[in-house]
Symmetry: C2
Subunit: 335 residues, 2 copies
DNA sequence: TTGTATGCGTTATCAC
DNA sequence: GTGATAACGCATACAA
């Protein structure tokens, strides 16, 4: 009837049909097509309920990328922040969607069930371990490695870590710690447990643990912080004690939002390109749908460490003179 | 067959059916149901492409609320950041969705077409003017009024505005300016155009216009800034000139993200509850779907102004002594 | 090249 | 209270 948009039809007929379509205001009915073709042209982004969406800039960037990429492929994107796991599983085999992108916060139990059912699914933001399933994640380990290398290159030897416990199946904290440890080990430094303090990703925990960190017997000269929010908290705690960043304490962290640029001092941070993670994951899922016998693969998207003011005094001075810029919060040396 | 989940069936039979369902692993097919019932159980959040998702915390909070509220009503949420307007219109009458929530950035042209078709649609984040269509927005005008009143109550008389041009159909800038003007007028102060500077919502424009603002012939003692990002930029510009906030310049703004709490000085800001806007809009759309003859209504969600450190020196001092807190960036008076 | 019949899985209707 | 039957709108396969 209307499928005649491609094969071997007279151009004249095509035009005739098109005119009639326009006159009648005909619109193809998606549900009927989905029923017949057993394809809904819809992907889902499946996540658990997000407690603090305002702080979850990662996810906002990710979802935006997923939607854009899906749309470019003519697919729609369904959002399912499930509370009930059963609902999530039902979604997958209701035929409502063709495939799903699973957020890294989705529990292993759910992932395992989906793998068993050979559901067309891709993990986004985490790896799959041994599970035969596609995944895309950022190279958090390498990012942390680079950040730590930067500190070591500046001559720092007493580097503390402001870390955080894993949340659910999210192993990002461990990966960042692993990269940090690798850099230290290479430099012949052991990562002793007294140098690792655990917050819970929140600002408040950053203040509290930052206080602990600054009270260590031999105060560290640098800190690797697992999130920008805790990094800001640590810097404020340092300032409160009259310490200047980066002069008295160098701080490097991981970037969640553009605020690393707007805060003073600007934060040296690992940039994690969640937009690319999202795009790659969507492409992988689309490929999986197009070619169902495909072998599951894992993709690691590179991260990059960006040096800003919070870690390198000389860089700061160069930047400030160049940009006619002034540190925002740190008391100036001459003042 | 399975619809027997409600009316007048023997409990015993129900149980029997349930057992069989479990044994066969039967899953209802969404597309077939949608075809037959002419209801897809899906809502859409329709927006234009978002250029900077990382800065658009507003929208992240909004979408999160929409998804949660839709899910609570047993509906799914489709995301459509359309590039092509035709695709957006097609979506609406493809039967793929039951109704749509239109972002405030969706053009008036599209809205008008949808209204003509009597599409089940609700505007979120803006009002509809004369159009017969439901909408939910936050009371931006009142928020700006309260913020300005706060400055006036502190005795400020030279208040400048760091504003921004409207983007697309988004009249938020005008609404905030209107509230500001109302408060000034009440106090017998005219809002002269030389007191209004226009940025473009970006940090960079905040710096540039902030510089202009501080260079006004008679320097303002206070500023009302239309976005937190520009407010931060203004404060940094002020600090660069050796001015202290709030002592030399009081700043009030509008809140987009939790960063108003994490920046120093903390920003006095109008809190705009986008989560509630989203929830109310979803409820309105659901009501519209349930009862199609419903008259379109408009809902204004109240905002509230929160006093923090950037506007009120006395408040700051009280807070700092109470919380054992220290200003982050402003040189302390005694230092 | 074009027209026509069949079935996808549900739900609603109607006899039983 | 229960079982059979038709129809939703499109895509496909097959006949013309």
């Amino acid at each position: 009837l209307v499928v005649q948009d491609s094969p071997l039809v007279t151009a004249a007929t095509k035009e005739r049909v098109r005119v009639v379509i326009a006159q009648l205001g005909y619109r193809p009915h998606a549900a009927a097509a989905a029923l017949r073709r057993a394809r809904s042209q819809t992907l889902a982004y499946v996540t658990t309920e997000v407690p603090q969406p305002a702080l979850d800039v990662f996810r906002a960037v990710l979802v935006s990328a997923l939607a854009a990429r899906a749309q470019a492929a003519g697919q729609y994107l369904l959002l399912d922040p499930f509370v009930d796991e059963q609902r999530c599983l039902d979604l997958l085999d209701s035929g409502r969607i063709d495939g799903a992108l699973l957020d890294y916060m989705v529990s292993d139990a759910v992932v395992r069930v989906l793998v068993e059912r050979h559901a067309p699914v891709v993990l986004v933001g985490r790896d799959a371990g041994d599970l035969p399933i596609g995944w895309v994640k950022a190279d958090e380990e390498e990012g942390a490695y680079q950040a730590t290398r930067h500190l070591l290159n500046l001559g720092h030897r007493r580097v503390a870590v402001l870390a955080a416990r894993r949340q659910g199946p999210n192993a990002i904290a461990e990966q960042r710690l692993a990269g940090h440890r690798r850099a230290l080990t290479e430099a012949g430094i052991a990562l002793t447990s007294d140098k690792v303090l655990y917050g819970d990703w929140s600002y408040e925990s950053g203040r509290a643990q930052g206080r602990q960190l600054l009270a260590l017997r031999t105060r560290p000269t640098a800190a690797f912080v697992l999130s920008e929010l805790m990094a800001v908290a640590l810097i404020q705690e340092a300032n409160k004690q009259g310490l200047r960043v980066p002069h008295d304490l160098a701080v490097v962290t991981t970037e969640n939002s553009p605020w690393v640029e707007y805060v003073r001092p600007r934060l040296s941070a690992v940039h994690v390109p969640m937009d690319e993670v999202g795009a790659r994951a969507t492409e992988m899922l689309l490929a999986l749908l197009a070619e169902s016998g495909r072998i599951p693969e894992g993709v690691v998207v590179p991260t990059r460490f960006v040096v800003r003011d919070s870690s390198d005094p000389s860089a700061t001075e160069r930047a400030t003179s160049a940009a006619d810029e002034e540190p925002w919060l740190a008391p100036r040396p001459t003042q």
